[in-house]
């Protein structure tokens, strides 16, 4: 598959825990810009590992070894300073994790604060408002900006975490099962939000929820035991899977 405008290319990537325990095996794929790419597969197949390799968060684990390359606009991310890379590739986690010591306002600009980037008052206000509007949280919190982010509901907290990742204007946003801890209404809001956001950002989403992938993603990867089995236009994958394992997973035979 050769996407029209690609932003990221994964080239023969293999990742092992404890040297020989491969969690990702020889994955090669290009990710399309301004699209939502879903990563699916049964539990333990390496989705999280692959996702975290894209902003090198997987390097936090001890004894990890990485072979192959990932290129962002042609530059190998494994040769970039991690700090710079992570500003370009933001991340949202499975459970909402706003900083409990910071207010909603501070959480949004946490990336700037934690990196010691000084902003003028007006710039900060501007970033906080536009970002919170982008994640459709502004109307709900505009009168409580200086309260702690942990007082919000789970869904609101997760949107705050998306805002925190967006405030830096990254190229790509990685999300690891961002709605698995949320109720259906909050889930629907996040899904709408992601569809909205893809106009300006590239989104890579790990999901266990096949209908979620079908609803919002443009392309889908199916992984199995660390291998990328199938990578397709989402419609094609769901209507006409090529590999029997993909078909088995999609029809609920395993996973």
């Amino acid at each position: 598959m050769a996407p029209a405008a690609s932003i990221l290319s994964i080239e023969d990537l293999s990742i092992a825990y404890d040297r020989d325990k491969y969690a990702v095996k020889n994955v090669t794929a290009t990710v399309r810009k301004n699209a939502i790419t879903a990563i699916m597969g049964p539990s333990g197949c390496g989705k999280t590992t692959l996702l975290r390799a894209i902003n090198r968060m997987h390097e936090l684990y001890p004894n990890i070894s990485t072979e192959g390359k990932i290129k962002l606009y042609g530059d190998n991310i494994y040769e970039m300073p991690t700090i710079e890379l992570r500003r370009k590739i933001g991340m949202v986690f499975q459970r909402p994790n706003p900083f409990p010591t910071m207010s909603i306002y501070e959480n949004v600009i946490a990336g700037y604060k934690l990196n010691g980037i000084h902003l003028k008052r007006s710039e900060r206000d501007e970033i906080v408002e536009t970002t919170l509007r982008d994640v459709t949280l502004w109307d709900e919190v505009k009168n409580a900006l200086h309260k702690k982010g942990t007082f919000l509901s789970g869904g609101q907290q997760q949107r705050l975490c998306v805002a925190r990742a967006l405030a830096f204007k990254p190229e790509i946003i990685l999300l690891d099962e961002p709605t698995s801890a949320l109720d259906p209404v909050s889930t629907a809001k996040i899904e709408d939000l992601l569809v909205e956001l893809k106009q300006h950002y590239t989104i890579i989403l790990v999901t266990h929820n096949m209908s979620q992938a079908a609803r919002i993603s443009d392309n889908s990867m199916f992984m199995y035991l660390g291998e990328l089995i199938e990578y397709e236009d989402t419609k094609t994958m769901f209507t006409n899977p090529k590999d029997p394992r993909t078909e088995g997973y999609l029809t609920g035979k395993f996973g």
């Binding site: 902003n55 991690t82 990336g111 934690l114």
Partner: protein, 302 residues
């Protein structure tokens, strides 16, 4: 279920003496209750004795004047008055000693605690953890002796605040190391990851996320370490000796509340001052304990 097993069960239930069993459990419960009551009453007896014996010596001058000399105390005793003077030299000395000890022990303890948390499984960390445990077990008089050799003899050439503080700091260190590591462990890893995913440099993750998120735990640990050394007497006898007046010079000897209690105990004319001084010390420790409990409780509500 197999019918023979069922039969056996029924037979077993029939032969169990419920009366005996509930008697045993009631006996056990009574013993536990008794032990608990004894423990509680010891605490109340200590506080009660100190209050009853010490309260009449506590007045304004108790906090604003230095300890009297034995002659004044004798005169007061003879005429049935309360002993004049107070324990200002002890209070200021204790604050100075514990303050300086904290200034030394807190940064060390927190840095090492964070190191242990960050490298939990590394071998060096295990060694440091063991050494810290050993340090915690070193008798305080031995700490005093060592500091006498290192600081009193070699550095300040005489008993000094510095020496006393170093001794107290050594005793606080393992407590702070342990409590720092434990409270760092309470911070969810996802917060650390959130900061790292924003491109935050490592030292800022620690300074701006880990430390603020575990702040109440750190404070609690420090307060408990302080209250632990507040009453230390033996190491201070060997390092800072005592002083009959208020002293702020770090190279000179200083008094401390527990040192005064020891002096009062050794002077028949001053015996009455033991109780008020002990009451003060006890109150101080109790206050720190309540404060740390309150901080910990406030955190858990969040």
């Amino acid at each position: 279920m197999d019918s023979s097993i069922l039969q056996k069960r029924k037979a077993m239930i029939a032969t169990t003496h419920f009366g005996v069993r509930s008697f045993k459990s009631r006996l056990f419960f009574s013993i536990v209750l008794l032990f608990a009551l004894i423990t509680i009453s010891i605490v109340f007896l200590i506080i009660g004795t100190l209050v009853v014996k010490g309260y009449h010596q506590i007045n304004w001058s108790f906090f604003t004047q230095v300890a009297p000399d034995t002659f004044d105390a004798m005169m007061a005793n003879a005429s049935g008055k309360i002993i004049p003077g107070g324990i200002l030299n002890g209070i200021t000395g204790t604050l100075l000693l514990v303050g300086l000890a904290s200034v030394i022990a807190i940064p060390f303890g927190i840095v090492i605690g964070i190191y242990l948390y960050e490298n939990a499984t590394k071998r060096y960390a295990g060694v440091i953890r063991d050494i810290s445990d050993v340090l915690q077990g070193v008798p305080s008089i031995v700490v005093g002796l060592i500091v006498y050799l290192w600081v009193v003899v070699d550095i300040t050439k005489g008993y000094s605040v510095l020496a006393g503080s170093v001794a107290l700091a050594i005793m606080m260190l393992p407590l702070i190391i342990r409590s720092t590591e434990e409270s760092m462990k309470m911070v969810p890893t996802t917060l650390k990851e959130a900061a790292i995913a924003l491109g935050t440099p490592y030292y800022k993750v620690i300074l701006r996320v880990l430390i603020p998120s575990s702040f109440s735990g750190l404070i609690t640990g420090v307060l408990l370490a302080v209250s632990r050394v507040l009453g230390e007497t033996a190491p201070l006898l060997l390092t800072t000796l005592g002083n009959s007046s208020v002293n702020w010079n770090l190279a000179k000897p200083v008094s401390a509340v527990p040192l005064l209690i020891w002096q009062f105990y050794n002077d028949p004319n001053m015996v009455n001052l033991i109780w008020s001084s002990s009451l003060f010390l006890m109150g101080f420790v109790l206050l720190l304990n309540i404060l740390s409990k309150w901080i910990a409780a406030k955190k858990s509500i969040q």
